[in-house]
């Protein structure tokens, strides 16, 4: 709730104006039944006593003060009293139109503003959260909070607040007027409202549950269809069409059933309550008619009371809707606040550091723990500036975790890492990460041009620099084939690149930064042997004297390294130069032997 108040406070003038306009709107609405009352009685009088000034004056005297004053002010116009009422009605209608537009525009704009404000602050907050947080929340979940939940909050603030205030104001204005005309009829008119409202509220809750169940069923149906489409090949290969149809049929039937329950409540709810309220309307007509016959009320009074009831019917029954908006809105708000309350694990402690530090690394006793098992355990090694380190090991041996720990994307549970002799905790997160260029295992490209993807980490780069980075990553031949070269759109609405092309874009992205330390995380797995050789040659030439760490499965990628680290289950089990490791027994030599006898990739 505090979150909401902060954001609402920012847009307070808008909300204030909206509510003020809502008051004015209701004032004009309230005037209409009074004018109709006046007109009906004028007609009635006219039938008996055509155009008697005295009768008109008496009728005028019964009107609430502002209306009476306005009509009296129009007395100078050469119009009959009825025409004056008609004119007043038109003016009221016009004013009402302006106020109504203004009130809705202000309140609904304000709600949208709050929605957009919260969404932007959510994204800013999300950019601060670490992978630990992202491991616990799926993208779908976060997306749903930033869109669906936020929509609920917006509905609560926009239509919810609008209707809530409208109901309160309408009742606050109409009830005194009705009681003023006839307390008895007012009571009669509203006699059946309490049970009608209670029913509405009860059914409203059931509708909410029915809606949720139906949405869940739709979700299952979608998931099932998606799975089937994804497995289109398998379904055909296994001749499993009919069992798939049976499976789908089951969720389809459940969705039908849930939809029918929802339709039953939705179609019935409002009408059932209205039927109850109809007793009040009927009673008003009946008692009102009796009172008119006995001369206790004028015809206009009865018509006005019926008009007020018509006026109040929407605000009354909208309450049920407002309640459910409020319920859903606060639940959604809690889900959004949960995200905003999540704190990143590491608060960056800024420390003044010399710009020029040697690009060396020293890792001592490094351990990283995920949940209940160690991803890294007591890892120590040194990387002197300007050397290349190759890192090999089976899947899950902790190689990627090591890189994440260097970048402080995961928290260490023990150990120290120093960059250029300074503990990495003394760097701010950004200053630390700027010293590295990472090519991740699964390269991510954004729906943008290839050039912008390469320049992702350095958006101000010149086109020449981008082209050079692309060339260094052996992308030139591919770019020539692509429709717009570097300006080709990739991703969702663009060209789908191959795995190897994506990897090389990611390599170009890192090379463009010209980072003090380059981290390649199995970054050449999807490129063929010849291209790999080209990229490695480039790296040897251009990054000579610079620090590079290479994780690889193919030993050809690390054969030139100064030092090889062999990881196994989070520990370094072997280290040494490639030649030393080849000579010794162990993972490296075994892998080398295997890769010799194995056609790892058939490319003539």
């Amino acid at each position: 709730m505090r979150l909401l108040l902060t954001h609402v406070r920012r847009r307070l003038p808008r909300f204030g104006w909206g509510i003020f306009m809502l008051l004015l709107t209701n004032l004009t609405s309230m005037a209409i039944p009074q004018l109709i009352r006046m007109a009906v009685d004028l007609f009635h009088n006219a039938e008996r006593d055509p155009d008697s000034p005295a009768a008109t004056a008496r009728l005028l005297a019964r009107l609430p003060w502002p209306l009476r004053a306005s009509l009296e002010a129009m007395a100078s116009l050469p119009l009959s009293p009825l025409l004056r009422v008609a004119l007043a009605l038109c003016i009221v209608a016009l004013l009402g139109m302006l106020f109504r537009t203004a009130s809705r525009v202000h309140l609904l704009f304000a709600a949208r503003d709050v929605e957009v404000d919260i969404r932007c602050s959510m994204y800013r907050h999300l950019t601060d959260l670490d992978p630990h947080f992202y491991a616990q929340h799926t993208t779908g979940d976060l997306l749903s909070r930033a869109t669906n939940d936020l929509t609920q909050v917006r509905l609560m603030l926009g239509p919810g607040l609008l209707n809530l205030f409208n109901t309160v104001v309408a009742y606050a204005m109409a009830l005194p007027l009705m009681v003023w005309m006839s307390p008895k009829l007012t009571l009669v008119a509203f006699a059946t409202y309490p049970p009608a409202l209670a029913l509405m509220r009860h059914l409203g809750k059931r509708l909410y549950v029915a809606n949720r169940t139906q949405q869940q069923a739709l979700g299952q149906l979608t998931a099932q269809a998606q799975e089937n489409l994804r497995g289109a090949f398998l379904v055909r290969a296994f001749a499993a069409e009919s069992s798939q149809e049976k499976r789908f049929s089951a969720v389809n039937a459940r969705y039908l059933n849930d939809s029918l329950v929802q339709a039953w409540i939705r179609s019935g709810m409002f009408r059932l309550s209205m039927s109850l309220a109809a007793f009040g309307t009927m009673a008003t007509v009946l008692w009102g008619g009796m009172d008119v016959m006995e001369g206790r009320l004028s015809l206009g009074d009865v018509v006005a009371i019926i008009e007020y009831m018509a006026l109040l019917s929407w605000p009354t029954f909208a309450l049920g809707w407002v309640m459910s908006l409020w319920q859903r809105g606060t639940a959604s708000l809690a889900r959004i606040e949960e995200i905003l309350a999540s704190q990143p694990l590491a608060a960056p402690p800024p420390l003044a550091l010399p710009e020029a530090l040697p690009a060396s690394l020293s890792v001592v006793g490094l351990s990283v723990r995920y949940a209940d098992s160690f991803a890294l355990q007591g890892v120590s090694f040194e990387v002197p500036e300007g050397t290349t380190v190759g890192i090999v090991g089976a899947i899950g041996s902790g190689k990627t975790t090591l890189f994440m720990a260097l970048l402080r994307m995961v928290e260490r549970s023990a150990g120290q890492i120093a960059y250029g002799g300074m503990a990495i905790d003394d760097f701010g997160l950004q200053p630390l990460r700027r010293r590295f260029g990472l090519v991740p295992q699964n390269p991510t490209l954004f729906s943008d041009t290839i050039a912008n993807n390469i320049a992702f980490g350095a958006p101000e780069s010149s086109p020449e620099a981008i082209a050079a980075a692309a060339a260094a990553a052996a992308l030139e031949d591919d770019l020539r084939v692509l429709p717009q070269g570097l300006q080709t759109q990739v991703g969702e609405r663009g060209v789908a690149l191959s795995g190897g092309q994506k990897q090389r874009c990611a390599i170009a992205r890192a090379l463009l930064l010209d980072p003090p330390i380059l981290l390649l995380d199995d970054a050449l797995s999807a490129v063929d042997v010849a291209t790999e050789a080209r990229i490695l040659t480039y790296l040897q030439q251009r990054r000579a004297g610079r620090t590079t760490l290479i994780v690889a499965h193919r030993l050809s990628a690390v054969q030139h390294a100064n030092q090889i680290l062999v990881f196994e289950q989070g520990r370094i089990v072997q280290r040494g130069s490639p030649a030393e490791l080849l000579a010794a027994e162990g993972f490296y030599a075994t892998l080398a032997a295997q890769q010799q006898s194995t056609a790892a990739e058939v490319s003539p």
């Binding site: 007109a39 957009v116 997306l143 009408r271 008619g289 899947i395």
Partner: protein, 597 residues
């Protein structure tokens, strides 16, 4: 152009009609209830007029009581018929949508696999879900009741005319401006809503992309820049919304104001005809209520029209999907219980393109036989046509020229289901479904639970199952993300083994697996290959050399074939390939000498 699209709409309605016409009883009920409801909507104001002008004015107490009760009854009837008509229509519509979804799903199962190469998955999924929902909305929002709304409007006008022709004419002075205003604002509101949808889609796409790649954003230090970019998207979204809100609010307010002006018009008319007593209180109240009952459907008309429009668009897309030609009937042709002799590709020319040019052909006159019990490896560069051969064998595609023969019979003459049941296919990317591990192995009806359990044991998945929290009942996450690549592959092999197929097809089944896991997989593979006809596309020499015959392919033709030993002895493409691999994969001598730079 317009007439053409009208005719197109009409054809669409006719095709969808089947689904509604299949429930004649419900349809008739809905058809009768709507006019009844319209009648109940028209009556109450008339009763009010009678009450005021005849009962009250004449001081007739008895009549007042009777008419008041009649008034209540009509009001309640209005709600009851309203409920009954709306609900019966919902049932009609939802059942039709159920049948439509079922038919689309069944149709999609019969589409050629090429369809899925062509169409993004999301698009087809949208046809099956969102588009059907858009169509269903026609029923749930009552947009289909536009006709009955028109009936109500006509009824209201008729009643007003019946009460007073001149007065009606006077009151309806406001109708032309109403229609103009509504048409004007709706056009802009529709455009604005369209632009909102576009912007929200952009916001969603941005979030989906950047939230899933947040690590990249953070490592490259682009938090602030992407946040600014996101704010820009949101600002556009906000502006689009402001337009829509303004048009919507103004339309609502103007319609309301015009309604009040109509009442003023009544008063003015009355003022000029005061002498005749033309405007009695009851008439006035009745007219006020009629005007309201006239305005509500007119105001809703636009919303309903929008729903109808998007439903038409959705229906067009759905029918487009249903018009996709199915590949072949699953259950027509020769029955085939088992394979006696083997498979043969005879002079097969094949291209994936629908209207291929010479360059598109992947296979160019390929002849290949596979005898029963023989195990064959296909070797060659990417694009040489290995995988294509696999897909032709169990008839995922038909060749443009030549034929695939099974026991000497053209595969196109054989029942498709019987043909495909001979095969089990294991691919590089393992497809797992939601459900338990066991359910994933017993993936189709032909595999029972016992066979699935046995297969899991036989491929050596026991150690893996023991590690899982609930063993074989452990739930598989979306895309099998709680299993490693090797474990997923093991499940796929169990699935194939449980089928006990006549012919086993392995399509790069072991490419993505690290050496450690491969040991386990290899044992399972050996078991699967024992005494079986098999076709294997593999990269690992260790797998290839075990096969009875190796076929080396290049550019859609066969270059060489024979056993590993024969081919190595003979020399040529295969031996070159093996040797190239050895040099490429092993560290060159420079590394051994220990001089890295």
């Amino acid at each position: 152009m317009k007439a053409q699209s009208m005719r197109g709409d009409w054809q669409m309605v006719q095709r969808l009609w089947r689904y509604l016409g299949a429930q004649p009883g419900r349809f008739a009920a809905a058809l009768c209830l709507y006019p009844l409801n319209s009648l109940c909507v028209i009556l109450p104001p008339y009763l009010i007029k009678t009450i005021f002008d005849e009962a009250i004015a004449q001081h007739d107490r008895h009549r007042l009581v009777v008419l008041s009760i009649a008034y209540l009854v009509v009001l309640v009837l209005e709600y009851v018929t309203g409920f009954a008509s709306e609900y019966s229509l919902s049932v009609l519509g939802q059942r039709a949508m159920f049948a439509l979804r079922r038919d689309i799903f069944a149709h999609v199962q019969r589409l050629p696999i090429g369809f899925f190469d062509r169409q993004p998955l999301g698009r087809t999924l949208t046809r099956m879900t969102t588009d059907v929902e858009a169509l269903a909305e026609v029923f749930s929002t009552g947009a289909i009741t536009i006709l009955s709304d028109l009936l109500t409007i006509v009824g209201v006008v008729a009643m007003m005319l019946r009460i007073d022709v001149h007065l009606t004419a006077f009151a309806f002075l406001v109708v032309p401006p109403l229609v103009l205003v509504a048409a004007f604002f709706q056009r802009y509101a529709r455009q604005a809503f369209g632009s909102i949808r576009k912007h929200i889609a952009r916001i969603n796409a941005f979030l989906a992309e950047y939230l899933s790649a947040m690590a990249v954003v953070q490592i490259f230090g682009q938090q602030r820049r992407t946040a600014d970019q996101f704010e820009g998207l949101n600002d556009d979204f906000r502006r689009a919304n402001q337009q829509a809100i303004f048009f919507d609010a103004a339309l609502y307010a103007i319609v309301e104001a015009i309604g009040t002006c109509a009442i003023a018009a009544l008063l003015a008319y009355g003022a000029f005809h005061l002498e005749g007593g033309a405007l009695r209180a009851g008439v006035m109240v009745a007219f006020i209520q009629y005007i309201r009952r006239f305005f509500v459907p007119v105001r809703d008309l636009s919303t309903k029209y929008t729903v109808l429009q998007s439903a038409f668009a959705a229906a067009e897309r759905i029918l487009g999907l249903l018009d996709e030609k199915p590949f072949a009937p699953l259950n027509q042709g020769f029955r085939l219980a088992a394979m006696q002799q083997g498979l043969e590709l005879r002079d097969v020319h094949f291209a994936y393109a629908a209207e291929p040019t010479e360059a598109d052909f992947i296979l160019k006159g390929l002849n290949l036989t596979l005898h029963r019990g023989e195990r064959l490896a296909l070797v060659g560069a990417t694009g040489s046509g290995k995988t294509t051969v696999l897909k032709l064998l169990n008839r995922f595609y038909d060749p443009q020229r030549g034929a695939v023969l099974i026991d000497g019979v053209d595969a196109r003459e054989v029942r498709l289901h019987d043909l495909r049941r001979l095969f089990a296919v294991v691919q590089q990317d393992v497809q797992l479904f939601s459900g338990t591990v066991l359910e994933n192995v017993a993936f189709c009806e032909r595999i029972d639970v016992t066979a699935a359990r046995r297969a899991l044991r036989d491929v050596g998945a026991e150690a893996m199952l023991a590690r899982l929290p609930r063993g074989e009942d452990t739930h598989v996450f979306e895309q099998g993300s709680n299993f490693s690549a090797g474990e997923r592959q093991l499940l796929a092999l169990a699935r194939a083994l449980a089928l006990d197929p006549e012919v086993l097809v392995l399509d790069e089944a072991t490419s993505n697996i690290d050496s450690d896991t491969e040991q386990r997989i290899q044992a399972a593979l050996d078991l699967l290959l024992r005494d079986r006809t098999a076709v294997v596309v593999a990269h690992r020499l260790s797998t290839i050399e075990k096969m009875d015959r190796i076929v080396v392919m290049d550019g859609g033709r066969i270059l060489q074939q024979g056993s590993h030993a024969e081919l190595m002895q003979r020399g040529g493409a295969y031996r070159d390939l093996v040797e190239v691999q050895h040099t490429a994969a092993s560290p060159p001598p420079t590394a051994r000498s220990g001089s890295p730079k």
